[in-house]
């Protein structure tokens, strides 16, 4: 299951690298980098149950609620 304990071998180094990866980019460019990064990391994790748990945890507290159900455009 989703590991919420400390698991990154060099936290400061990782955090600096994360910020560096976005240096000089516009928000739009950063969004592209983040999207690719998420996909690469998701593949590394692989297990959909873990990924789902991470998605839920990431959304928790944002906009006040869990992801809404898809709503059809018409009845």
């Amino acid at each position: 299951m989703l590991n919420l304990d400390a698991g990154i071998s060099a936290p400061d180094e990782f955090y600096a690298a994360l910020i560096d990866a976005h240096r000089g980019l516009t928000m739009a460019e950063s969004a592209r980098v983040n999207a690719r990064l998420i996909l690469l990391l998701a593949n590394q994790i692989g297990d959909v149950a873990v990924l789902r748990a991470a998605l839920l945890r990431a959304r928790d507290g944002v906009a006040g609620s869990a992801a809404p159900e898809r709503r059809p455009d018409t009845p």
């Binding site: 592209r32 999207a35 996909l39 593949n43 898809r70 059809p72 455009d73 018409t74």
Partner: protein
């Protein structure tokens, strides 16, 4: 057989029913002579059920419309007697290529496995398919096809259905025991009975341009995301017979459908794809939108709904006509048994269970494809493009690319007609699955398994023939694979094989499969047992067991 060309009109013919003092009562009326209605009519006709087939028009489909006919549909057409004609006339293809901007991302082979009669897909204009089905229906006899007979009202009670039908000579009334509505996405029957098809409408428009040209493209499915010749949108290219190519351009929701249909708009789009020096001729142009939706229930008492009348999907994945023909395949044998009094009417509820499940599967797949092709938000477009960018160099991202998950038949794994496995088998060909085809030999002559099973319930025995069969009260086709002494007793069809069939069925000597008339697996065992066979047939026909075996 030479099929009619598009645009051929069939004359209105007055039916004797029109002058009858009281409405004439028929056993079965089918509304809609498209691929689904024709397939159902032929299937029922082959089972000896007289069919009245009504169609409001007087011609085959206008335009090529559904062009991709899947392997399973061709196998059904084989059973209906016109698979060879459709397959030979169509363009076979197994390969799809996906492009992003100016480069090819990857390609895929839909039928990587050898040893199947039919290819993954053939591309052929819908009107050619309808012409083949129509020719077969006429040759079969017993199918009373009435062009320009338009249903305007439907009423039903517990005993039957009463239709009001408009013709060029005025209205008449027509009764039937059972009604099959295969009258398309704007189904008159569905509306007349107060039902609706509910779901998601997609805010996007697409342009179909069928062009005739001499072109160097191979017979493959080519899909472009954001190509230089049509920036920001997707394009799909398919080859059809007779040097006709289907080009499908995504236009976006704001496109003006009337303006986009004009040659002034279409020709430059096509030229941008082909290059300025490739001559071509526009054959058919259409601008369309679509919805993924279905009716809540495909049966309302004595009325059954099939094809687009019952459910709709986006076109990516070719799940419209293919799933509709599979509806007909699922329903026809059940309706025939009910009409013959060999099964109770509740057998028809299994049509709903199985085909509503299939519709949901198709809607899920088509919706996922559409969401990928038409991202609904800025962030979904960013993720979509990130997947495409990574897919060029990273194999992991390719399974995430979705340019249409192409139609495969549903496995009715949860069907109440299945006898669950009691013996140890691998998952392939589990109860509910359509039988996989395999090469066989009949008296040394190469043949295909699927030409020798189905139509009726089929007992497929490996190695040995049972000494005694139970009295089943219905026709049981009997097939033995690789009989021990090379021959089969009277009433049995012997097939030889090279091991492919046994591998696909996970069969050992003694293994027995019970296949339904639509070639789906009903039950399987490691050893024949007459009582278990009888119980499985009863279960697969929704017939209550008369004797308790316990």
């Amino acid at each position: 057989m030479v099929a009619e060309a598009p645009g051929v009109a069939f004359g209105y013919v007055r039916s004797a029913d029109q002058g009858a003092p009281r409405p004439v009562r028929h056993r079965l009326v089918v509304v809609g002579a498209g691929p689904v209605g024709l397939a159902a009519a032929i299937d029922l006709g082959q089972r000896g059920v007289p069919v009245v087939l009504l169609d409001q028009d007087a011609s085959l489909s206008e335009g090529s419309r559904a062009i991709c006919f899947a392997k399973r549909t061709l196998e059904i057409f084989d059973r209906l007697g016109c698979g060879g004609e459709v397959a030979e006339r169509g363009v076979s293809w197994n390969t799809g290529r996906v492009f992003f901007r100016d480069r090819e991302l990857y390609h895929f082979d839909l039928l990587a496995e050898a040893g199947h009669h039919r290819p993954a897909f053939v591309n052929i204009q819908q009107y050619h398919v309808e012409a083949s089905l129509l020719a077969r229906a006429r040759a079969l006899g017993g199918i009373d096809i009435r062009w320009q007979h338009r249903v305007t009202a439907v009423a039903q009670d517990d005993d039957g259905v009463m239709l009001t039908v408009a013709t060029p000579e005025g209205e008449y009334r027509l009764g039937c025991d059972w009604l099959l509505a295969a009258d398309g996405s704007r189904s008159t029957v569905r509306t007349a009975l107060g039902h609706t098809s509910r779901g998601q409408v997609f805010r996007d428009r697409f342009l179909i341009a069928d062009v005739r040209m001499q072109a160097p493209f191979p017979a493959e499915r080519w899909f472009w995301f954001d190509p230089p010749f049509h920036p920001g949108q997707s394009v799909l290219l398919h080859r059809q017979p007779e040097d006709i190519w289907r080009i499908d351009f995504q236009l976006g929701w704001d496109a003006d459908p009337a303006a986009e249909r004009t040659p002034e708009r279409v020709v430059p789009r096509v030229r941008a794809l082909l290059g300025a020096d490739v001559p071509f001729e526009l054959v058919w142009v259409s601008v369309y939108t679509f919805a993924c939706q279905r009716m809540a229930r495909f049966r309302d008492r004595r009325v059954l709904f099939a094809g687009d009348a019952a459910h709709g999907v986006s076109p990516f994945g070719a799940r419209g006509a293919n799933s509709g023909v599979q509806d007909a395949d699922n329903l026809a044998w059940k309706l025939a048994l009910v009409l013959d009094g060999a099964a109770p009417a509740r057998l028809l509820d299994s049509y709903c269970d199985e085909r509503e499940f299939a519709a949901d599967e198709n809607i899920r797949a088509a919706t996922a494809s559409t969401d990928f092709i038409t991202p609904k938000s800025e962030i979904s477009r960013i993720f979509r493009d990130a997947v495409l960018e990574l897919a060029a160099t990273c194999p992991f991202a390719r399974p995430l690319v979705n340019s249409g998950r192409l139609s495969v038949p549903s496995c009715y794994a949860a069907s109440p007609l299945n006898t669950p496995d009691g013996d140890d088998f691998t998952a392939a060909m589990a109860p509910g699955s359509p039988a996989a085809d395999a090469p066989v030999r009949v008296a040394g002559v190469p043949a295909w398994l699927l030409d020798h099973v189905g139509g009726a319930f089929t007992l497929l025995c490996f190695g040995a023939v049972p000494a005694h069969l139970p009295d089943l009260n219905l026709t049981l086709r009997r097939v033995v694979v690789a009989p021990h002494d090379g021959t089969a007793p009277s009433g049995w069809q012997a097939l030889e094989e090279d091991g492919t069939l046994s591998a696909r069925c996970d069969a050992r000597p003694g293994t027995v499969y019970l296949l339904r008339p639509d070639q789906h697996v009903a039950a399987r065992w490691r050893a024949f047992d007459a009582a278990r066979l009888a119980a499985a047939v009863q279960r697969a026909t929704a017939t209550v067991a008369e004797l308790c075996a316990c």
